[in-house]
């Protein structure tokens, strides 16, 4: 059984990770939408960047975020010995 301090430190790590993930989540969707008029001036292979972020870019980042969170938490679980058998 873990001590109270260890449990608190586990939760702190989880919370910080959650905040980081949500910050990026916010920036690629809401942030990008707010400056999409400006981003649209950059055109790559026919795709205006502002439109592209909303249509595909943000979505791919979302997926990467979930994978990143799941992988990192797996390691954190192991570090504190709270992983499942």
């Amino acid at each position: 059984m873990l001590s109270k301090e260890q449990l608190e430190s586990y939760w702190r790590e989880n919370r910080n990770l959650m905040l980081l993930v949500l910050l990026i989540w916010f920036l690629v969707s809401y942030g990008a939408a707010l400056i999409s008029g400006f981003l649209n001036k950059i055109v790559i292979f026919g795709f205006p960047l502002g439109y592209y972020m909303g249509a595909q870019g943000a979505l791919i980042v979302f997926l990467l975020l979930i994978v990143f969170y799941a992988k990192t938490m797996e390691n954190v679980d192991k570090k504190y010995g709270v992983e499942e058998d």
């Binding site: 999409s36 292979f45 502002g50 979505l59 799941a70």
Partner: protein
């Protein structure tokens, strides 16, 4: 525990199934080419063939066990749970309507694309792993255990039922429309054929059967979605990967729009629309007299014609379609006026974001509501109870989003191609329009009228229904009918899988949460499952009955479900996990305030024309959601902290290892 052998067997079964599906497609293609199979025959093969497969899975997975019935025995591996969640989540609207909405709305439509995917980040990080650790059957179960008592459970049940039932009716409507389009059956018959397809798997095997059927349905829908657009992309560019090739279409659309903006013929047609809008406005202002007058005029015209005159049929049809009451006239004419006003404006840039602040505020608010609503939808959250471990619940959110993205990052390509093809019609003579235009004009999915009488198509003369984009792509790409039929089967799979998930959620909320947990806790496990099954049948029949009225408001209700879920369930779940100090009083006050404020704004904005900060009814939760959080936090701090055992419960769900009091398996 993760059962490796089980996952391997599943992979094999679904690989054989996918192979069989492709074999069937090839067989039907050869049949169409060599034996001239009729479209109706191919339609029947797809409809009954796919439903037979779903039924077979339902029969194989039949069960009477509680854990299997409610959470598929908690042994669904992450990949398969991801596929099932994707099918559960993607409805007929995602499959058929979304690409079209995007084609018509341009950048504004992206709120749906980002909104319906961004919610999975919230689910995977804030909610799913902890609910899985808790390990009960439903959301009300969680609210009860976390906040203690019947009242939180009851509020959870009410929110679940409101959100899920409106959604279910829309899915059954979708099934009816697709079945009637595919086979030419009357809508009501289509509804009941679809209903059999829904019930045959959920009734026999509950969540277990639904899960394995949803995996099969996902495979059908994703293949059906990808084939037409891939071929079309190859035709345009020589690059089959539509997801990266559609940039040229975006450029083409923008150039064409810039040309059409000042085209004198276009301006002429826009003026006609403008005049029409003004006429309608005058008619609406003169209600109810204008309604009576219009009716009288039609009747007089009819009476003036001798019996047997061919023109009589035309006027009789007009009379039949004429609004039945002044109230209906107001609704219909306002709608027509809005459309005419819209058509009288020059085309807006396809890729530019909303240029005014109000438009941007509504865009962002809608996106937030869709994300939070997605993370709070009971039928989606339920799916994360079925994974074997907390770790798998986390990865499962990733797999779910991966399988959803296959469709969602393809939708913008469909949309751009659809819009591009529409613009290609502009400047053509009316007598040289392609066949697909004639075909879909018959069922009113595309309307082209020579308003200024010059014999040439103007952009402002084309009006398309959003469903048109996905449905017509096979023909635009020059594919055989088999593929068009298969796309319809894909749409059917999308609607059926979502309906199944919703049906299970609703019947569980009533049988497990309301009846077993609140009214009669002395039921034996087998009786509980039987009651669940009986309710399933009743709910499905009520859903079909409501769907048969084809109320126009149903489509709107679905969008509202997101605002309602975002303003009620989402805060209660997140605070229950992340805020240990949150207590019963705070959560209930928050949910009640959030739900009430949202419903009031919905009502005022939809029916009374109230508009604050440019927020449309579809994003109405933007006021109730933050209020829910604020009220919950304030009330909880003013009332005593939750008891010791609840605080321990919160600790328990935060760590993957260790027992949770309330989550014991039966």
């Amino acid at each position: 525990m993760v059962d490796k052998g089980f996952a391997e067997r599943l992979k094999k079964v679904y690989a054989i199934y996918t192979g069989g599906l492709i074999f069937l497609l090839i067989l039907l293609y050869l049949g169409e080419k060599l034996f001239n199979l009729s479209p109706a025959f191919i339609g029947y093969v797809f409809l009954f063939g796919t439903i037979a497969v779903y039924a077979a899975i339902g029969i194989i997975s039949r069960t009477g066990q509680v854990a299997e019935y409610y959470v598929a025995g908690r042994r669904v591996p992450a990949v398969f749970n991801g596929m099932a969640t994707a099918a559960d989540w993607m409805s007929a609207a995602s499959f058929i309507g979304m690409a079209g909405a995007l084609a018509l709305q341009g950048y504004n439509g992206l709120a749906f694309i980002m909104g319906w995917t961004g919610g999975y980040v919230l689910l995977g990080v804030l909610i799913a792993p902890y609910l899985r650790k808790f390990g009960a059957y439903t959301i009300p179960d969680f609210l009860d255990a976390r906040y203690g008592g019947k009242l939180p459970r009851f509020v959870g049940i009410v929110a679940t039922l409101i959100v899920s039932f409106t959604y279910l009716v829309a899915q059954i409507t979708g099934v009816g429309i697709i079945a009637s389009r595919l086979l030419g059956l009357p809508f009501e018959v289509g509804v009941f054929v679809g209903l059999m397809g829904i019930l045959v798997c959920s009734f026999l095997g509950g969540m277990k059967a639904v899960t394995w059927t949803q995996v099969a349905q996902y495979i059908v829908l994703i293949i059906a979605y990808l084939i037409p657009v891939t071929v079309l992309s190859f035709k345009y560019t020589g690059n089959p990967i539509s997801q990266i090739s559609y940039g040229f279409a975006l450029q083409g659309i923008e150039q064409r729009f810039a040309q059409l903006k000042d085209d004198p013929k276009e301006i002429e047609v826009r003026e006609i629309h403008k005049k029409r809008a003004e006429e309608l406005k005058a008619k609406i202002a003169a209600l109810p007299e204008s309604w009576e007058q219009g009716k009288k005029e039609l009747e007089q015209q009819l009476n003036a014609l001798p019996p047997g005159d061919p023109k009589r049929a035309e006027i009789e049809k007009k009379l039949k379609e004429y609004p039945k009451s002044p109230a209906e006239a107001k609704e219909k004419w306002t709608d027509a006026m809005k459309k005419a006003t819209e058509a009288s404006k020059p085309p807006k840039s396809y890729t530019a974001p909303p240029s005014d602040t109000k438009g941007m505020v509504n865009f962002l608010a809608l996106m937030l509501m869709l994300m939070l609503g997605t993370a709070g939808l009971p039928h989606v959250i339920m799916r994360f109870y079925t994974t074997p471990t907390v770790r798998e619940a986390r990865t499962s959110a990733g797999w779910a989003l991966f399988f959803i993205l296959l469709l969602y990052i393809t939708a913008p390509a469909y949309a751009a191609f659809g819009r591009y093809e529409m613009l290609n019609l502009v400047g053509k003579a009316f007598n040289e329009l392609p066949d697909w235009v004639q075909k879909w004009a018959k069922v009113n999915l595309i309307t082209i009228k020579d308003l200024n009488g010059d014999g040439i198509v103007q952009f402002a003369e084309i009006a398309i229904h959003p469903d048109m984009v996905v449905l017509a792509t096979p023909e635009i790409a020059g594919l055989p009918y088999v593929i068009a039929g298969f796309v319809a089967a894909g749409g059917l799979a999308a609607a059926l899988s979502t309906a199944d998930g919703l049906l299970i959620t609703i019947s569980n909320a009533i049988s497990h949460d309301l009846y077993y947990k609140m009214i009669n806790p002395n039921l034996s496990p087998s009786t509980r499952v039987k009651i669940g099954k009986a309710l399933l049948l009743v709910v499905a029949l009520i859903g079909a009955y409501v769907a048969s009225f084809r109320l126009a408001i149903i489509v709107e209700l679905v969008a509202w479900a997101f605002s309602l879920a975002a303003a009620s369930l989402f805060p209660a779940l997140v605070l229950g996990i992340w805020d240990k100090r949150m207590n019963k009083q705070g959560a209930i006050a928050g949910m009640v305030v959030g739900l009430t404020v949202t419903i009031i704004y919905l009502y005022l904005s939809r029916f009374k024309g109230v508009e604050l900060f440019g927020i449309k009814p579809i994003a109405s939760g933007i006021f109730g959601m933050p209020l829910n959080f604020i009220v919950a936090l304030v009330v909880s701090r003013l009332t005593p902290p939750p008891p010791q055992n609840i605080q321990e419960f919160v600790d328990n769900i935060r760590y993957p290892k260790g027992a949770v009091r309330a989550g014991a398996e039966e």
